[in-house]
């Protein structure tokens, strides 16, 4: 995708600290920056607790920020007037991970999808409203007979389709997909991902795809942002990142993904990354250094900043020359 010039969303030096006890703070997000261009899919990956969902939610003003900026078409989303925010919330939507808890069990599917249409006055009358609801149901592979049913009558995959239809109903430009498939079975995952890719093509949508399944992220994303404990360690085009990961964390993350091919698994080295991601004791310097085999003194002193190592490929590491490719 080459036609992008101005980013749709710019995340600039974003920080989010949560208070933990009287004096302590947890730096859930510590100075991250990245851009999302129109009509592209950015994959945001990292392990649990790395701040990927928090980042996505701050972008949609579901959380407040501590410092930094999130710009939507150049406008700070946290400084919007009520009217501006109302418009923003029509343009930016979210699909949640858990298709069970994110849909109201007491509403019919028609009302779940129709709520956004009502709030944003997108239908002139009841007939148009219903027609819209039907068309979104069809767009996500359900049908009209599903409209009057309640959520408990649907399977996980079908519920996720309802969640997608709800997001589509306000005709958004941008959708944050917060682990939309991790609660689903393999065969159903493929259905939902294909649906998302098709909808993006048809409607020119921009996606932020938050996930921990690296194979699926690679499959759907144009560019990928890798996070580790609240910091961005590497960002690059999808194929470049998987073909030539540069940050030691990205390398070990990719190396840890099992490949569904016994031959390749047998040839693979048994080396695994040691330790676990923990926020304690990583207040200064590179947060990955406690698990990194290339760590030096410099890593403990100073947090490495993102540098453009190759065109479009940014890495935050002090010891790139030592890191084996």
């Amino acid at each position: 995708m080459s036609e992008h010039n101005t980013p749709l969303i710019q995340v600039k030096h974003l920080k989010k600290y949560f208070p933990a006890g009287r004096k302590e703070v947890v730096k859930a997000i510590d100075d991250i920056s990245f851009d999302i261009y129109e009509r592209e899919t950015v994959g945001l990956v990292g392990e649990s607790g790395c701040g990927k969902t928090t980042t996505g939610r701050i972008n949609l003003v579901l959380y407040d920020k501590t410092d930094g900026q999130v710009l939507y078409r150049g406008q700070d989303v946290h400084q919007m007037s009520r009217a501006e925010r109302y418009r923003f919330k029509k343009n930016a939507q979210i699909v949640f991970q858990d298709p069970y808890s994110s849909l109201d069990p007491r509403m019919t599917v028609a009302d779940i999808i129709g709520e956004g249409i009502d709030v944003h006055h997108l239908a002139a009358n009841k007939r148009e409203r219903l027609e819209k609801i039907y068309s979104y149901l069809r767009a996500v592979g359900l049908n009209e007979s599903h409209a009057s049913r309640f959520v408990h009558e649907f399977s996980g995959g079908q519920r996720q389709r309802i969640g997608i239809a709800r997001a589509l109903a306000v005709e958004p430009e941008f959708i944050m997909l917060d682990e939309p498939i991790s609660a689903l079975d393999v065969s159903i995952q493929a259905q939902v991902v294909n649906l998302l890719i098709r909808l993006q093509r048809e409607k020119g949508l921009t996606y932020l795809f938050v996930a921990h399944d690296l194979a699926m992220v690679k499959h759907i994303s144009d560019r990928i942002v890798v996070m580790y404990l609240g910091t961005v360690v590497e960002t690059a085009a999808s194929d470049a990142l998987y073909g030539k990961p540069m940050h030691p964390y990205t390398q070990s993350l990719i190396a840890a993904v099992p490949i569904p091919d016994p031959e390749k698994e047998r040839r693979r080295s048994e080396e695994t990354i040691q330790g676990e991601a923990t926020i304690a004791g990583a207040t200064q310097g590179c947060r990955f250094r406690t698990r990194c085999k290339y760590a030096t003194e410099a890593c403990a002193r100073e947090m490495p900043s993102l540098r453009e190592v190759e065109p479009g490929h940014f890495v935050a590491c002090h010891n790139l020359d030592q890191v084996g490719r």
Binding site: V186, A190, Q191, M216, D222, P260, E263, K264, T272, E276
Partner: protein, 345 residues
Amino acid sequence: MDNLLEIKGLRVSYHTYQGEVQSVRGVDLEIGQEESVALVGESGCGKSVTGKSILRLIQAPGEILPGSQITFDGRDVLSLSKKELRAYRGGQASIIFQDALAALNPTMTVGRQIMENLLYHRKIGKREARAEAIRLLGEVGIPNPEKRVDQYPHEFSGGMRQRVMIAIAFACQPQLLIADEPTTALDVTIQAQIIKLLKQLQRENHTSILMITHDLGVVASIAQRIFVMYSGVIVERGSSDDIFYRPRHPYTRALLQAVPRMDQEGKQELNSIEGTPPDLIAPPEGCPFASRCKYAMPVCARLAPEVTDFGGGHRCACWLYHEMAPRVAELNDPDAAPAGEEVGQ
């Protein structure tokens, strides 16, 4: 060589208000000594129920139906007395679950939970058991075992909790470990650590493993033989290479093609399996996959498929391999296996 575990015609049903849910509908499975076997399938296919049946952990309203056979080391598991059953569970066969936090007792230190197993099954004193618990914690890779032994499950991370579960399971050097989705809730780097640990403990303790999972990637690294389960029946079984490189059943094939792979480039559509599995209150008379199968023939909906043997223990329950069925080139040609195949649009 005698098999360690043999399951024949296992049927398990759950009696609910809506009717009898036939979770497992005639499963045959066997595990050799020191062998790693994987049972693969999607949620609700009956794979966990099969695993639990081996330890007789099915509780009401569930029931292992008469006629089912489970033989462990020559003994009939389904007719063990209460006392024999207690010696068998945790002693000769152990199980670890997906959700270690739910499986561990939150009011007991992990040390006491490991000791509980040791004191019950082995003739040792408390002090010895405690020392053994510390040794086990160290062996499963928990740093500072002397200190951690007195901590509670909530003080451990998800990966560490799973290690504690493994320590409990291996405390009495079981002959069989049933691992029910042991890494599904974990991050990939932790998943790799746990798989490595399981393999290492298996080598040291000469344990057989039944790995129950939906993740074909995990299976490829650990299993020697694979059973593919769908709607309560085994649809295909064979060596790991058979299943990955020469899959015969349309479901196995579709499942392999639905998984995105890191070693493939580009953003294409995945081959998805349309539709959903059948309702097991009224399971279809014929092949349970027929309604989603792109090769389905009229006979598939009416009659349960016969099993075709491809040699070397590779068997598949599908009508397409009947002598009267039309030949489907892509299913019969081993070279067109999905492992090396370009996933098209």
